[in-house]
Symmetry: C2
Subunit: 567 residues, 2 copies
């Protein structure tokens, strides 16, 4: 490809809107352009990388026996009503609209409903199972805060797969296959990944694993143990039940005036105690009633865990008015002592505390030296908080690390979550009708692209791994003298004839400018033809990764590159 006839609009300056390296370089290297917040056009170089990534995914998926299909992007709302996700996912991030006949449609943010609808029409017997179908397709989500370029965008490409099995054992096998597929895809893209236990959340089902890439630009925090490899999303990561410690001597319970101070920070400062001496009392609204949840002052409640403990889908912090109704005190002064007609549960850590501070259920008042059993009775202790850097690994008790990561893939065991509601049944060996057991598996294609850049760049630009590089070789004549240019063209043509994807920088520009662009767009191998080295019959080979240079005989360019590209 001749650069002058191609469309690679590079930029010298960092775009203002770009906060992270991948976003910055995707714009500067002419991979993407923004149409609107969170909506991007792919220019030729970006599209080539995208297609390379898609082909890696496709190859691995096909190897695992998954079968490619292509589902519609617009869905009638009614199939979302059957699963009930019209009220959750669609209300949250769905784009919906009416057609000329006043029927409501939805732009697919994911395809569980559509694929279940398709499969229930075709799968009748256990003989047709197992089956794994996948597609590579554009998804749409009305992101509240699109950011980091294509990392969090409103229109993005996903590979989504769905497995169909006759029983849980089959699902385990399909799930394992997809786990392996995702590992292989990420390895082929040269991305170190961490597979973490995750909360199935909006998808439903009971088991899920996220594939995370460590990245400063990531939006997800995970708990990771360097020693044993344990990894889990913060939503999911288990906090160990602390060992029973000997309780301190119980001091007399006392009410103190804290006036308008009611934050943990404020109260602990005022009373000259650490935040860890406080117990926060949070009032939640649940299924029409209320519940009080106790947690140590310096810790954060994990609502995913709370939902699992309470076995509910809807959970909301009570409003100020509701808190007053329940505790008879304004917001900030709730406490468990004397609280009546309400279920009280507490985080494990609270069980070990003595002489702690709580709200007094009275305006401007707190209680100090509160002690369990003496001042209040609690029967239910659970793991209710977020893990943090002070915690131990729940598996090996080594110190846990909290790391920033980017979610690239997510796999779920759905079980009968969709097949039951949508009546996607099959006849088993014994002639019994049963719901198909499903799994679903998503990987973000554009995110993979961004992650690759995040982990493969230097100050000057992108450093593509060979497998995904838009071109493998860049031929760069330093000037337009006949000797230099003709040789460059000959090398370019020879490489092309060899079937190597090669870009020829034939632009009539200063060498310095071309060098900068070359590093920016990050083609793995640069063949630089200049008059000086040419005097010695040599051309320069620059390897973008590490920026190593070496001189090679001008006759040996093809041979050397072929060796490098196949090794």
């Amino acid at each position: 490809m001749y650069w002058s006839e191609y469309f690679i609009p590079t930029l010298k300056e960092d775009p203002k809107e770009a906060e992270v390296a991948s976003h910055k370089f995707m714009i500067r290297a002419g991979l993407i352009r923004k149409l609107s917040a969170g909506i991007y056009s792919y220019l030729p170089l970006g599209l080539r990388v995208l297609r390379n990534i898609e082909n890696i995914i496709r190859r691995v998926m096909n190897d695992k026996g998954a079968i490619e299909i292509f589902l519609p992007a617009i869905h009638p709302l009614n199939i979302w009503q059957i699963s009930g996700r019209d009220k959750t996912l669609i209300e949250d991030v769905g784009y919906s609209f009416k057609d000329r006949h006043n029927n409501t449609f939805v732009l697919g943010p994911t395809h569980e409903e559509v694929i279940t609808d398709l499969v229930r029409g075709e799968i009748k017997s256990y003989r047709q199972l197992p089956l794994i179908l996948y597609q590579i397709q554009t998804k749409f989500r009305d992101e509240p805060r699109p950011r980091f370029g294509v990392v969090r965008s409103k229109e993005f490409i996903m590979k989504d797969a769905y497995s169909f099995d006759k029983d849980e054992e089959g699902l385990d096998k399909s799930y394992k296959k997809m786990y392996e597929a995702y590992s292989e895809i990420l390895e082929e893209c040269h991305l170190p990944y961490i597979a973490v236990e995750a909360d199935p959340g909006m998808m439903g089902g009971k088991e899920s694993v996220e594939f995370m890439i460590p990245a400063e630009s990531g939006e997800d925090m995970i708990a990771h143990c360097k020693k044993c490899g344990y990894s889990a999303s913060l939503e999911q990561a288990e906090c160990l039940k602390p060992p029973k410690t000997r309780k301190k001597e119980q001091k007399p319970l006392k009410q103190v005036t804290t006036l308008s101070t009611y934050t943990v920070e404020g109260v602990s400062k005022l009373l000259k105690q650490k935040p860890s001496s406080l117990v926060k009392t949070l009032i939640y609204k649940i299924d029409g009633g209320f519940i009080a949840v106790l947690i140590r002052g310096d810790k954060t409640i994990n609502e995913s865990k709370l939902k699992r403990v309470l076995n509910c889908e809807d959970l909301k912090l009570a409003s100020e008015r509701e808190i007053e109704k329940v505790t008879k005190a304004p917001l900030g002064f709730a406490g468990p002592v004397g609280l009546k007609d309400i279920r009280i549960i507490a985080d494990y850590q609270v069980a070990n505390m003595s002489n702690f501070i709580t709200g007094a259920n009275e305006k401007d008042k707190h209680l100090i030296n509160v002690n369990l059993d003496r001042d209040l009775k609690i029967n239910e202790f659970y793991d209710l908080r977020y893990i943090d850097k002070d915690d131990e690994c729940p598996r090996c008790k080594n110190k846990i690390q909290i790391r920033r990561t980017m979610e690239i893939g997510h796999i779920f065991k759905l079980g009968m979550r969709y097949s039951k509601d949508m009546k996607a049944n099959f006849l088993d060996k014994d002639g019994k009708e049963k719901p198909i057991i499903m799994g679903c598996y998503g990987i973000g294609v554009n995110r993979l692209l961004a992650a690759i850049i995040e982990l493969n760049h230097d100050d000057n630009g992108i450093i593509w791994p060979l497998e995904v590089a838009p071109f493998k070789v860049l031929v760069l004549p330093v000037d337009r003298s006949c000797k230099v240019y003709d040789l460059a063209q000959k090398i370019y043509k020879d490489l092309k004839t060899e079937g190597i994807e090669v870009l020829f920088d034939d632009r009539d520009l200063q060498a310095g400018f071309k060098f900068k662009d070359a590093d920016l767009i990050g083609i793995p191998y640069q063949v630089i033809i200049g008059p000086k080295s040419l005097e010695k019959g040599k051309v320069e080979l620059k390897i973008r990764r590490g920026n190593k240079r070496r001189l090679i005989d001008k006759q040996e360019v093809g041979f050397t590159l072929k060796k490098l590209l196949t090794s």
Copy 2:
């Protein structure tokens, strides 16, 4: 690929909803399934053909120097407001919706606005021109009457290309390149096509050609001359100015009572005259005023031609009330004689008529023996009607044919239609800022698929042309005896090793059922392994096109097929 592990849900019966062969076979052969009216999922076999077609398109486009990109499907409404097409195309067939911030977005039915927005940010100088960009992408249109499966659907895949040039001469070159590209694509897909002059319509611009496939299921009629090859859409096809004939003797003008009869058919019957003796007077509303248009009673007005003559975009038949205002008579009795304060134009044919019949501008009355010059004066005659089977070819005067066709591609010279409104300018050699001269070029990928089936099938199923076939060879063991099945498997594996795309019908079904499915899905070559021929060391090769069969040595299957596939 093993059939039993793949997903090809064939159907024995024709689906009720399918009216045409392509729709019927796409469903029966398991290529597509309907999600909702005009919205289809592609199953594995359909997707494979789609990808093959896309790759043909891609190869030809790249050969012509066009560069592939990928634009967003959701567009902010405001870029459509700049071109003014928010009021035409979007109101007509656009899906639009609001996001969480109450901004309006549109699902792209085409991409002139988006690409012009992209290019105006990147193209600054004539040095960057010419440029042809294209994409293969899903488009969305709220079709009033989706039909024929994927032929007229709400969500469909298009290859759309856009050319950018510095002048009309450049546009001519780009346009020619794309014309050639479309011809090559259709030839590679084995589709006979007719390139017809067409009306640019909604796209704007001044010149356009449609690529049509003769097909009974088509929705477009074209005028075509067998002798000289002239082809044009009915909108566009020129009607020759009839040669001046000697006028008949003028009879005296007379008013007759026709009572409530006012249709051409009714009046001509009542007065015992041919419809061709009548002149219809149509009142149109245009830019606030009215115009009367005269046309022979048996012909149909062509509003595209009328718009071009009047040089207006908006044109509407007057309402009953407006007609009464203008003609002082109810609908059906308008006539040109005595009509005041209104511009009157007529079709060429009217100029040659004598003693014709018109409305009398009075309720229940017509005039007979009307004659030009004597009874009314008309100064403007134009080509205003649709061509029909009685016409001659406007080029060679041979008899014209009216044929039913399916539109597959459409190319347009847009000129400055979008670049001017959207300020997509470049600096010319002389430093002057000028709007980029554009062209746009679309081809329907799913329609190509349907057209291929329309023109390549028999009663039993599809007959794929080799280039687009989902698999090139089908291996079909007649039974599951070891001898037969093992040889079949060996042949399958050998062909696969040779890199041939081969499907193995390993299903435990009766031979008759497998034969029927084989013909239905239309793989070009069937290798049938049965006990009888095997006794003689032979297997059967069935060529789907023509259903020719021959016996070949079991050792020679690979050799024979390789020869057939590369010849």
